[in-house]
Amino acid sequence: MTEGFLEGWLGGAVLTSTPIFYAALGETIVEKAGLINLGVEGTMLVGASVSFAVASATGSVPAGLVAGMVAGGLFNLLLGPLVIVWGANQLASGLALMFFGMGLSAFYGKPFVGSSLDGLSSFPIPWLSSLPFIGSILFNQDLLVYMMIPAAAAVWYLLSRTAWGLHLRAVGEDRLVAYAAGSRTGLLRHQALFLGGVLAGVAGAHLSLAIAHTWTEGLTAGRGFIAVSLVIFAAWSPLRILPGALLFGGTLALQIQLQARGAQVSPFLLDMLPYLVTLLVLVLLRNSSRGRMPEGLKEVFESSREGR
């Protein structure tokens, strides 16, 4: 009994953690540039609805995926002029973006509410998937799950080993120094927003195409905010996003498993776990995370003050 439980739970954890992972990975790029996007929730919803709509309409899942990515990238980019050019408050703008995303996705997704789609199906890796226990957990998942580790590695490489990444991080740390070094601060930050949006779009697409296999309003249910929190306690390191995402995916999946087995724990208490755990970890790891926060981000929280 326990073995089935563990397998089911861990397999579910890996699947559930995928959208959170991609959204957090994208937000990491954005925050490394010194911006914070509280509206990731909205971007994910846009990605989810667009990818589902396109996949349903065209019958092609890859088309849906690509559409979701592009839509996410463009949507996230809205924050650019608002915050970078016109200097609007980042926290309020992000929440406005969330509202915008909620409304837009509901609006354009209406025709597709409730319809179901096979979507992205799992893709067992030959031989590896027949391994006992870990076979079904790790190697009987869909493409996007498999791409998590390569994606993390790619983003890590982009940020720490390329000139683009170097200048982007410089912008996020100290815009004046970056400017003195000749970095194009505005362009870099817009590019970060776009990339972040693409990944959030992937996250949304996975949610609608691979997990829910449908579209409903508000599908993401706060996962965007978990992703933002995840970035903080992964201390802005792309490589630490995955374990963190698994932790949250784990708590989310736990509830499903326990319910399926008729466990006597209140589903509501279980539902609370991901958010409470996030809160707890953020507080416990406050010193180590604070040490790694891009300096530019610190300003965002400070400048929420200046009386206008």
Binding site: L91, A92, A96, F100, K110, S304
Partner: protein
Amino acid sequence: MPEAQNRWFMGWGASIVSLVLSLASALVLFSVLLLTSGKNPLDTYASIFGSTLGNGFGFSEIFVKMIPLLFTALAVALPARLGLVNVGGEGQLQLGALAAAAAALAVGAGTPFWAGIPVTLVAGMIGGALWALVPALLRAKGWLNETISTLLLNYVAIRVVDYFVFGPLRDPSSSNVPQTTKFADGFLWPAFAGRIHIGIVFALAALLLFAVVINRTRWGYEIRAAGSNPLAALRHGLPVTAYILIILCAGGALAGLAGTGEIMAIQGRLRPGFSPSYGYLGFLIAWLAGHKPLRILFMGFLVALIATGGDSLQIDQGLPSSTVDILMALCLFMVLADAWRPDRLEVRVRSWLHRKNGAVS
């Protein structure tokens, strides 16, 4: 910069013009959006404004919606004057409602209204304040920013309410529908015009109190100073940490009253999902209003109008009611961008002229 220059530009007239232009551009953008999906924007606007301004019941419903919205807007605006970003209105209103419900059910039937209503008020405020306490402590100690903590607790709050409604507080006689027992009459807030209830008195009183405190009292002065320059405030002996705790919890209490009003006046019992994002809408209103009392009143009315109008969109136009979220978000974008501010326009026009005349920049 010479202080006497551009006097017209710095007056309140300019800010009203700028506001109107921002809202107008939002309406235009929304129309464009509607057009791209084959909907006639004029029909949509007719539906939104017609069902609210053109209809007696609809008009009163605006005010019904305004009641919780004013409270949640204040829940954001008050801490904002201190420089705090409270996104937890949604959760705080849930816990306020829960506390009020629990108190009403505990104290029981037969309570006269002059005892029952104050009980709900006090309980609602305590519930909301307590839910803001943890984020306040974390912020005061410098451990975690209140933006993230209040946000996360919103999701926890909904589940807490669910737990109680499905569990200890559940009405045994309604097995299909999860809800608490109906509250005894002594606790219910009476309505007097359509569904408009005494909550409006409380909300307006709170708004007035906010205006007076912030603008006329010593504490308002200290809060504004600390919000604008915490370092200078600290150096001059202002108790910044104490204010963080008190003000954030006060914000929670105000949001708690939003929830209390909804269940005690409109719902009559506590049901899950009774709040259609009042907390987040309050955030929107506060930021649209720049956290100023009179503007909160105006923006509260506007958002309540749009939200109420949105309800009928489903029926009239076959559009999801959350379509109006788009319009509200666009309004907030335009106001935040402050693109129509006269001095910014001036800069923009000048640089356009500059380029047009072939000057090398």
